[in-house]
Every structure is written in C-alpha cells, then in structure tokens.
Symmetry: C2
C-alpha cells in the first residue's frame, strides 16, 4: 500500500497526484508551442494563441515568450481578466453585449496599458460596447465578425460586413481595427486536401471583405481567423494577418486524428478502482473530469484497452484477454476535446517525466463573476 500523503502537501511525483487529475508533460507542451511559433516566425501572418483551450496563464506566458504573437485571443471576459497582465493586445473573439460584461472589458482597457478588442456582429452589440467604453472614457477596438461558413455568429461577408464596419468607424468609444472569421466547421475535416481547399475559400471571403472595407476608406489592419486544424492553410492565405489557434498546445485525440504535427501533451490520470471482470476495469475518471463531446477518450499505454462508457465519475474500460490491470494502478486517458476538459479542473499538474515540477492554476476556469458572487454573499 502507498503511504497516505499529507493532504495539504503538493505531490512530488506522478504517483502522488490525487486522481482524477489533468497532467501536462512540459517538454511536449514546449515543443508544441515552439513548433507553432516557428511556423509563424517568417510572417507575414502572425499567431494570436487562443486562451480558451487551456485557460492557464502559465501556458499563455509560454506562448507569448516563444514569439511570433500579436497578442492573445479569449472567448470570455473571465479569460481576458485572467491573462490581461501578460500582454498588451487582447482580442475577445466573441460577441459581448450586456452592460456588465462590456463594462468589465472597458475596465481592462482603462489605463491604456493593454489594447482590448472585441468581435461585433450587430448594431445592438456595437452600441453596447461603445457605450461602456465612453462611460469609462476609454476606447475599445472592434473587429467585424464575418460568418465564413460556420453558421454560428457573424454577419455575411461583403456588403453586410461593410455596413457594420461603417457604423463602427463613426462611433465614439470604439476603434474599427478590422475583420475576423472563424472557419470552425473546417477544423476537424480529416482530409487535408479538402480542409485546404475549403479553408482557402473561407479565408478568401474574409480577405475580400477586408478589401471592401479598405476601399471604402475605412481602417482594416487586422484580418483574423483560423485554428489548430487550419493554422498552416488559412495562415498562408495572402491577406490573413493572424491565426487564433489554441488546442495545439495541449492537443486532444480529435485533433490527433486530424493529423496536425503536434504531440499529445496532456492527459487525464485516473486510478483503477474496480476490476469486476476479466475483460473490464473501471477507473475513477468520468464526465466530471473529461468530456466525451468529441468522442470517448483514448487509453494510453495499455495496448488493446478502450473506453466503452463514461459516467459521471467512472470510465468503463474494456480490456484485452491477457491484461494484468490490478485495482489501484494508474491509467492515462487522452480526452477527445481539450477545451471543455480543461474547464473541469482547478489545476493542471506539470510533469518532467514522472516528477511534478509545477501545479498550474487554471485561473480562467468557469466564470470569475460566480466566484465574486460567493464572496459577495459571504457564503
């Protein structure tokens, strides 16, 4: 039996980490970060790493330190607040429309240390951002969000985008910086030739829209798009100025299947708590420590084993006939989707081989305002 560790102590080795846990191999992470930075080093397109994939300031710091970056991308105001101290140019690549959140963005821009830019796709949203900026006496950058085929947010390319750009250009409180378009629907396309052709077309629609905006005499220095699945395709379309990739740092089994040249740097560490049948074991890591929204996780280091079910706190694993998995042993599962999986954890344990070299707070996990609310309620 293992000796019980002091519950207040930081684990020193892989074996001491309480499960379930999110672990990251620092060497693999750093190689992923360096490889992506190197790709963009030659320019003209640059990288704007997306914080939503890891929500971890230590990883954002490493991405910026590796170079080739215009700044950071965020999906929520909470993420922006968590990393605002790390760079001087933050993009919230998402619509923010309510007064409270717009005010928090304006507060981040106060003092002028960091340029804060947000996506807009409606007159209502644009006016909300501008009103918040004016109320604090600051300027917020805006990018017109263009739907390049994803069918989620964004105005249509061309004249609709130009109309919103015109509205932004004339509005006190905001500064039009350009356009963005996320080809999210193309990130998981397995066939590289198909992914290349379709992302080129999507980005061309964005670049053409940027040209239309400039032809109208409006500023448009930023043309932002892309992700881990298309970084080297969309990032080579002339006129695209930056790529918003995030998942490449930690990776997941879904992007692994896409065939991008990054290592699986993170996984979920579990403990086998039950061995009820020759062909089955059950580990203590389920839906509450990793999501199954892009498929079931993949077992690492146990040939022939596969996860057949994820329940709240259980991964049910089918074993090959000769498996010698005992109750109490550790298992490693690679999640199918890193973004929502990371969001389930408060920390990630950083490893150098089997040694724990850091316990990194996932500071942007969840929604910061909810933690404020608890404090406010005195609970």
């Amino acid at each position: 039996m293992r000796t019980p560790p002091d519950p207040g102590a930081v684990p020193r080795t892989l074996e001491e980490i309480p499960t379930p846990a999110l672990v990251v191999d620092v060497a693999s992470l750093q190689r992923n970060i360096d490889r992506m930075a190197t790709f963009f080093a030659a320019g003209p397109c640059r990288l704007r790493p997306h914080v939503k994939a890891h929500k971890t300031p230590e990883i954002a710091r490493r991405q910026l330190a590796a170079g080739s970056c215009t700044g950071l991308t965020c999906a929520t105001v909470s993420e922006a607040e968590a990393v605002a101290g790390l760079c001087d140019d933050l993009l919230l690549a998402n619509e923010v429309v309510d007064a409270g959140k717009c005010d928090r963005l304006a507060a981040l821009a106060g003092g002028g240390r960091v340029t804060v830019t947000v996506a807009v796709d409606s007159a209502t949203g644009l006016e909300a951002v501008a009103a918040a900026a004016r109320a604090r006496g600051v300027t917020l950058g805006v990018l017109v969000d263009v739907d390049v085929g994803q069918g989620r947010c964004g105005v249509a390319p061309g004249e609709s985008a130009l109309a919103l750009a015109r509205a932004a250009a004339g509005l006190p409180g905001v500064r039009l910086r350009g356009v963005m378009g996320y080809e999210g629907h193309l990130q998981p396309v397995r066939d590289r030739a198909e992914r290349a052709g379709r992302s080129r077309a999507a980005m061309q629609a964005l670049v053409d829209t940027a040209a239309l905006v400039r032809a109208a005499g409006l500023p448009c220095e930023v043309v932002s798009g892309g992700g881990t699945g298309t970084y080297d395709l969309s990032g080579r379309v002339a006129g695209v100025t930056e790529i918003q990739a995030g998942s490449y740092a930690l990776m997941d089994s879904d992007y692994g299947d896409v065939g991008v040249p990054f290592e699986q740097a993170s996984w979920i560490l579990g403990t086998v708590v039950s061995r009820p049948a020759p062909d089955r074991c059950v580990a203590d890591c389920g839906q509450k420590s990793m999501t199954g929204d892009h498929g079931l996780p993949v077992v690492r280091g146990l040939p022939g084993a596969r996860v057949v079910r994820l329940n709240d706190e259980h991964a049910v694993i089918e074993l090959p006939p000769d498996a010698t998995v005992a109750v109490g042993v550790r298992v490693a599962l690679v999640p199918s989707h890193t973004d929502p999986t990371v969001n389930l954890h408060d920390v990630m344990y950083a490893l150098d081989h089997d040694r724990v070299v850091g316990v990194w707070p996932i500071a942007a996990r969840g929604y910061r305002e909810q933690r404020t609310a608890v404090v406010g309620a005195g609970a």
Copy 2:
C-alpha cells in the same frame, strides 16, 4: 441599455445575474424535496439523497430537514468532505482504493460524530479502506457493492458477494453494514412497466444476496440502491432499506422524459449575443456551462425554438419564422443531465420568482484536493 452592475455586487434580480448562470427556483426545488420525503415517510424503506447530483450543501441541508432520510450519499471524497457537517451517516457509494483518499475518509470518521461507510468490490479495496481506518484508530463501515446488471463496478450477486462480506466481517478497521447495488442502467428506461419489472428483478437479486449474507451469520442491516428513475419501484421491493436518489431535486430534461413526478427546478440562464439570421440566434451558454451528454438542452419559454448545436461558449438556437428574439434578451435552457452540468458552476443563483434570494456555493464542485494543491503551491 442596462446600467452596468457593480461587478462585486450580488445580483438582486434575475435580470442582474451575469450569464451564463445556473439558476434554481426555490419553490420548485422545495416541492420536489418535500414530495420525495413524503413518499418515504411511511417506510420501511428510507431515502439517502445523493449529493453528486447537486454538490450543494444548502440543498443537502434541505433534503435532510424534509425528513425520511438515513443520511446522505456521495460519489467522491470531496463531496463527503463538503457535507460531512450536515448529518451523522455518510455513504460513499463508490469504490475508494488509494491510500490518500482512504485516509481522508478515515479522517472524516475521526471523533466518532459521523458514521462513514464506503462501497467495496475487491479484496484490495477492502484492505486499503481497513488499513486507513486502523492507521487513524477509527472504524469505517463497508457495503459490498453488487452488480445488479449495470455492468460497471460490483461483484456478482450471491456467493461472490458473500465471500467479500465474509472478508469484511473478519477485518479489523471496518464494520460490515450490508450491501448496495445501483440499477443505473434502468433509470432512463422510458416505459414504466418495463422499468418496474426490471428494477424489481435487479433489487430482488440484491435482497437475495443480503439474505445469503445474513444466513451466514453476518450483519447486513443496509440494502441500498435506486435512483430518481426507480425510487418508487425499487423503494417498494421488500428488503430494500434505502434509495440513493439525487436528480429529483433539480431535475433535467432526460428525467423529465422518463415521467417522474418532479418539477424542472433549475435551468441555465443565457444571453442572446448574436442574431445572424431570421431563423437563428446564438446564446452565450455552451458546453462550458451545460453538458450535452444526455442530449441537447431544451429551450424554455420560446415556443418552437430548439437548440441545434452546443459549442464551448455558444448555444445555436433555431427559431420559428415569427420569433422576435433580439440581441441582449435572456433565454432559459433546461440541461439534459443535471449532475455534470452543476459541476461546471461555482454557484447557483436561488430565485423566488425573479428575485435572487441566495447565491449557493456548489461547494463540492470539482476535486477539493486540486484547490489545496494551488494553495500549497503558493500560486
């Protein structure tokens, strides 16, 4: 435009709650709790509410206050730690095998104020629990976990269970209290007659195993099983002493489809951030504020609207032709699975109609040891 609220202030009304957020209608919650307590008031079977579904001490407190309870059920040591102060009988209805976690359970039992009982399904697990108890000079209760058809953890009914019960009965540090078996595979069965027949058979296997244990001269006062889908079926099988239901308090759309007599008491509050097409709007609540593992969430209060996609931070909603949904309006989405959805939030906002009457910490969210690790690391 709304005036920006003080970000440190607790919201006073539904309208002031920052989105996405988990909200609970207190009157509905209380009716659900009272209805379940009333069902078990006549006995002989009692209720042991499952904390895993809500992870919220305030809800556990209300469940105990409503009566008919033997104690509380937990799925993790973190949950047990979060609610240990509320009752004198805690069941961890799950296998715990590693030394650190077993020690934390033993620590909870220290002082003798609360009886702590844990499920076991292997000799290795049983010995780990007993060793931790002996090291702290306490006794931990154990239930032999029996697989009643779910195909997850648990030993086979009958002789296998009896063998483990014998081992437990002779082992210093533990006290054999009985058997448990979770018919989890039957909870979502839509047809009530089928659900009734199959849960009766599953519980009969458990009751027969208990009889075998008693016939061997061993103690077996606890026969524990059931859930929200089978509480009134398994709870009426003679010999079952307690039902481990949890989802009935908050409910979800999946259990709504099963046809159990509880109200939908909670939902996710979102804000429409984009209205890009006549038949589409996008709200700011995605996979990171509710899970889709039991299906897509259901839109409440907007006839004809339906969620067609959940991304990390977006719910894409298809609208009927005559919908007048504007950017900035609030939407309510009923999640398909309450347990992992609650686990995404730090608080739930408690409502009396549109008034916020409490901000309840979801104290057992995530894994407590990860928060200790952050503090320990000085990060």
